[in-house]
Amino acid sequence: MSLTAKDVAEILRLLEESSFDSLSLEINGMKLNLQRGSATRTQQVRELATAAAPVAAASPPARPKAKPPSEPGLADVPSPLLGVFYRAPKPGEPPFVQPGCKVEPETVIGIIEVMKLMNSVRAGVTGEVAEILAENGALVEYGEILLRVRPEA
């Protein structure tokens, strides 16, 4: 058996009426791949594929863990590097920022040490510090959220 143009049209109509977004059909070495809406295609292929593979279906590790924001509309300040995060310029000194502090994009909000090299971290956004997530002296990963800022409207 092989697929005719009429068959394909019929399959297309069935897909259109269904709740599915994609269809893969293989008959006698002939492959038909149908996809609804091209923008989300990649995502769908991935989901389909992971569903078919038990190993891949295991939940992926979370992106450097972060507690949910305490209020909506907050802007994340992610760590630009993996390293040890310090809130203050030196031990015993007051921290760079506290909740409630006003920050501008260039405001230094902390330091990340990578092999004794100190890297300043800047807020990158204008607003008011809403919450601080990263602990002083803790290892932070690249992309981990250090603090959240309530952006200035």
Binding site: V45, R46, A52, A53, V55, L82, E141
Partner: protein
């Protein structure tokens, strides 16, 4: 001293390969992964994954300080560098030495010694290991003199090069001055080291390498040789052990040469001594030593039953060599095919994307080292190696049959791969006969082209 936690500074199949051995040994694993690899199979299997930076290797896998900081902060005892990336960077070994971390590999001094190709050549000569006629040249006058002595065709090689990089072929002596000038400039730009040396170009050559393990105190054993002559532009495609058609005497001599070289360095860990086999002269010459675990190590594991990564860890942990040469047994033949995300129909152009479906072979005598499952993303930032399919059989013919079957059973959808190309090479009569030279694949490509048009 006891290694309880290892930071793996690599990705892909080799990261998974190291994790597998750690699991068997009950060692915890911390994977240093780029943002692009946070959902990879190794990230799922590691006990902990740390995001070290963005996808681009220069901002993640090549950041030495970040890797060491990650290891220290995660309280790892040791770093396994895998292959590629920082594996042969003496600076990483040195930083580990300074920070009290165990580097699972050779000492920084040994990496330096073999990284400088001219120094490695000198070490080989001192160790009584044959090298190709040639040597260092500092001036054009010296180059002309030496060039006349060893006779063209010649190769100009960069001291900082290796693995086929930084080489220039010169067919006539009158072309030497211009080529020298170009090679020196290119070597300076590419390797930060403008020094070059001359070697005789061997027209018909095979690439045969010997796997060694050293305890760091002069104790060295070999685990046989691998033939990696099936190469395309110096990229190995198929490897096998034993190397076909070599006489027992030749084999013994090449093994001994590798052991002598590693002993001379008091080499520590797993390493590979590469030789060029001059087919017409029936001779072999020292090429270079790779101070790391190699991509093709599984063929050696397949015939010896030795877990090379396990031995690397044992040596790094101060347990020395647990194997004795006379107790090693070589069982049959093994072949490895490198499955790459590259399109043989388009001049082997890389083919990144999403693997919509992956089906791997699982017959007896077949091993697949891969990080690819259905749904895996092949990133354009990294090399195109998807998997290594390794087969073992009582003899070469049996292994070859197994490999043909294994390739036929493998299916990767969503991206282009070199699977069909492997099937063609494995069906070729010249390859089936065995003992092909390094220009075999180029010849094969030429004669198959008309068929495709």
């Amino acid at each position: 001293m006891s290694i309880r936690r290892i930071l793996i500074a690599n990705r892909g199949e080799i990261a998974l390969r190291v994790i597998r051995t750690c699991r068997v040994l009950g060692i915890e694993t911390v994977l240093a992964a780029s943002e692009a690899d946070l959902h990879s199979l190794p990230a799922r299997f590691a006990d902990r994954t740390l995001c070290i930076g963005p996808a681009h290797p220069s901002e993640s896998y090549l950041k030495l300080d970040t890797i060491v900081q990650a290891a220290l902060s995660a309280k790892a005892d040791a770093i396994h560098p895998g292959y590629g990336f920082l594996s042969e960077r003496a600076a990483l070994a040195r930083l580990c030495e300074e920070e009290g971390l165990i580097f699972i590999g050779p000492t920084s001094a040994q990496i330096d010694a073999v990284g400088d190709k001219l120094r490695a050549r000198a070490e080989a000569e001192t160790a009584g290991v044959p090298t190709a006629p040639g040597g260092a040249v500092e001036t054009l006058g010296e180059a002309m003199l030496l060039g006349r002595e060893i006779e063209p065709p010649l190769l100009i090689k960069a001291v900082g090069g290796g693995g086929g990089r930084g080489m220039k072929r010169v067919d006539r002596l009158e072309d030497l001055p211009a080529a020298m000038q170009l090679a020196t400039a290119e070597a300076g730009a590419a390797f930060g080291d403008a020094r070059v040396y001359l070697e005789r170009f061997v027209a018909c050559a095979r690439h045969v390498e010997v796997q060694v393990l050293g305890d760091g105190n002069g104790g060295v054993i070999h685990l046989g040789e691998r033939d990696c002559s099936v190469q395309r532009r110096y990229q190995k495609l198929i490897e096998e052990t034993p190397a076909p058609t070599l006489s027992a005497d030749f084999r013994t001599r090449i093994h001994q040469a590798a052991v002598q070289f590693a002993k001379r360095l008091q080499y520590r860990s797993a390493g590979t001594v590469e030789f060029l086999v001059d087919v017409d002269r029936g001779a072999f010459y020292f090429l270079e030593m790779n101070a790391r675990i190699q991509v093709e190590h599984p063929v050696t594991e397949a015939v010896t039953g030795v877990d090379l990564v396990g031995e690397q860890i044992a040596i790094a942990d101060g347990n020395g060599l647990r194997l004795m040469q006379e107790n090693l047994h070589f069982d049959g033949c093994a072949i490895e095919c490198r499955i790459n995300a590259e399109d043989p129909a388009r001049d082997f152009r890389p083919s990144p994307g999403v693997v919509s479906a992956a089906v791997w072979p699982s017959d007896e005598g077949v091993r697949v080292d891969t990080h690819i499952v259905s749904g895996s993303r092949v990133s354009p930032f990294y090399d195109s190696l998807l998997a290594k399919i390794i087969v073992q059989g009582p003899d070469r013919l049996a292994a070859l049959k197994r490999m043909r079957q294994a390739i036929a059973e493998t299916r990767i959808d969503g991206i282009a791969t070199n699977l069909p190309f492997h099937a063609e090479v494995l069906a070729d009569s010249e390859f089936a006969t065995g003992g092909v030279d390094t220009s075999f694949l180029a010849r094969f490509l030429e004669r198959r082209l008309p068929l495709e048009a």
